[in-house]
């Protein structure tokens, strides 16, 4: 594709791509706060605001620690770069920028939609999905790296599909074993002791997950921005990631984390399983161990899948704990469609941008992103979830009556804090028991 684009319009699309990449990094942060902190918030080990602040700082630190940035981040799933990170010659300049911009927009829109629905879907799947979609639209199916080279894990199959299938199961098993062991070992110890002891363990293990998240996820955006800089001729392949890109990405992911995706935190911390401190510690330790062991072995995985698997596992490992399989099924469904749907959005976005041309196109799709994002943000105001109601009793209702539930759950939450003796509305018998045990454990603590 021979392209003659004037310099100013290429600068424009580069600018938009960088801004959009940082916006993606920001959504990546708030989408994943819950992976590390949901359990600590749910058990009260940390106050909601303290938890997100701690996680944000650790993500910031983590982002700087990941000096070994994957310049070749896109190579896992698509073929727009060569193995040394240089963009493919025929795509140099505006065509590659358009692919990246459209892909990022696909990723952001999918992240925001799942956030609105309170579903912890994978940010890396959203990013890869968006890029795959825009690449298919621009280059065709041959532009996608489906299977890798066959010698090591690679391609969509090896880097995305297989890890997504296996990692939640692995994390779930580890967390279940950990939870079972913890409960066996601490039998006969009073609640006061276990609760305070395991709170510390929980904070420590959750911090480790946050740090690992910063090192893993921020570098994806760093790689994408650097690719855009190389493609537009502002940066040599050998120069690595510019310092300002590192700073900007680290800040974006930390700010996103600090904002806190409260809707997702609530689903992970309260929706899936009613969590106690020992379970929280088992879950976060399982997550941290799985993430670290995997990155050591080159097994690419999504923090989200691991965290969700771990939390499920703690529900399975503790006798009498209730796992809400309906919530779990909804999450799994979201995982399955994340990649294809982000791809669809990425592809459609690329087409819109392409049809409108190299100057109007990028501006138009960026405007589309801003418009849809604002809409979803306004939509989230209808049933706001924030630090004040993130831990309210979980009421599992169809989304049609969500608004009513949101209002009701506020009153239920108020009743909880005044320790009323009545059964919370809409809670199942198991809910009530766990509710009472926490109350009685507080009694012991006093």
């Amino acid at each position: 594709m021979p392209h003659t684009v004037d310099v100013s319009s290429e600068l424009l699309i580069l600018g938009l791509t960088v801004v959009t990449a940082l916006a993606f990094d920001f959504t990546n942060g708030f989408h994943d706060t819950g992976n590390a902190m949901a359990t600590s918030i749910a058990t009260g080990a940390l106050k909601p605001k303290t938890a997100v602040a701690l996680s944000a700082v650790l993500n910031l630190v983590g982002a700087f620690l990941s000096v070994e940035v994957a310049l070749t981040v896109t190579n896992a799933v698509i073929k727009i770069q060569s193995s040394d990170g240089a963009p493919i010659q025929s795509l140099m300049g505006a065509p590659l920028l358009m692919i990246v911009l459209a892909g990022l927009i696909g990723g952001i829109l999918w992240n925001l939609l799942t956030w609105l629905l309170g579903l912890p879907s994978s940010s890396s799947h959203a990013l890869f999905g968006g890029l795959i979609g825009s690449t298919i639209a621009a280059v065709g199916m041959s532009g996608v790296n489906w299977f890798g080279d066959g010698h090591k894990l690679g391609g969509v199959m090896g880097k995305v599909v297989m890890p997504a299938l296996l990692s939640p199961v692995i994390a779930c098993l580890i967390a279940a074993v950990g939870t079972w062991l913890i409960y066996r070992i601490t039998e006969g110890v009073s609640k006061r002791f276990t609760e305070t002891g395991f709170r510390w363990g929980q904070i420590g293990s959750a911090s480790l997950v946050s740090l690992a998240h910063g090192t893993n996820d921020a570098q994806k955006t760093m790689g994408v921005i650097t690719l855009a800089l190389i493609a537009s001729g502002h940066q040599g392949v050998m120069d690595g990631v510019p310092l300002w890109v590192k700073f900007a990405c680290a800040l974006a992911i930390a700010l996103g984390t600090y904002l806190g995706g409260w809707r997702i935190i609530r689903t992970l911390g309260k929706g899936l399983v009613e969590i106690s401190s020992p379970q929280g510690m088992a879950a976060e330790s399982a997550s941290a161990a799985t993430i670290l062991a995997s990155s050591h072995l080159g097994f690419a995985l999504s923090t989200t899948h691991v965290a969700t698997g771990s939390i499920l596992g703690t529900g399975l490992g503790r006798r009498g704990a209730e796992v809400r399989w309906g919530v779990a099924a909804r999450m799994v469904a979201a995982w399955l469609i994340t990649l294809p749907l982000a791809a669809l959005v990425g592809g459609v976005t690329w087409w819109i941008g392409h049809l409108l041309g190299d100057t109007v196109g990028p501006v138009a799709i960026f405007a589309l992103l801003v418009g849809l994002s604002s809409y979803m943000w306004l939509r989230s105001k209808h049933d706001k979830i924030d630090p004040n109601n993130v831990n309210d009793e979980w009421t599992d209702m169809p989304s049609a009556s969500k608004n009513a539930v949101a209002k009701k759950s506020v009153t239920v939450g108020a009743a909880d804090t005044t320790a009323s003796t009545g059964t919370p509305l809409g809670s199942t018998p198991t809910d009530t028991t766990s509710f009472q045990t926490t109350e009685s454990s507080k009694e012991v603590a006093r």
């Binding site: 894990l153 580890i174 062991l181 480790l208 161990a289 670290l292």
Partner: protein, 99 residues
């Protein structure tokens, strides 16, 4: 289909390492909490036994091992960021350049 075999191969290694670190360490921490309760006695335990000072000592050892493992974990993250890796070829961990 090579990817399936490769993924399963990586998966069981992750599972093995994860079980030791992700379930073993929390279990050790639980042993620490258990011994601390044994050491404190009274209200710390359901059966209100008398305190056994040795329990506190065992607890401190358990917590120290867990802390050391976490320190190792952080070293691992930092090291891989700086192009080094944690090697256990001499049993005790050392840092070396990535091969």
């Amino acid at each position: 289909m090579n990817n399936v075999a490769l993924a399963l191969d990586a998966a069981w290694k992750v599972l093995a390492a994860g079980l030791i670190l992700g379930a073993g360490l929390p279990a050790l921490f639980a042993v620490g909490v258990r011994s601390m309760a044994y050491g404190s006695g009274g209200d710390a335990e359901v059966d209100h036994q008398a305190p056994h000072p040795i329990g506190k000592l065992v607890a401190v050892v358990c917590f120290a091992v867990v802390l050391a493992a976490i320190a190792l974990g952080i070293t691992f993250i930092v090291a891989s960021g700086f192009g080094k890796e944690l090697s256990f070829e001499h049993i005790y961990p050392i840092l070396k350049d990535k091969g």
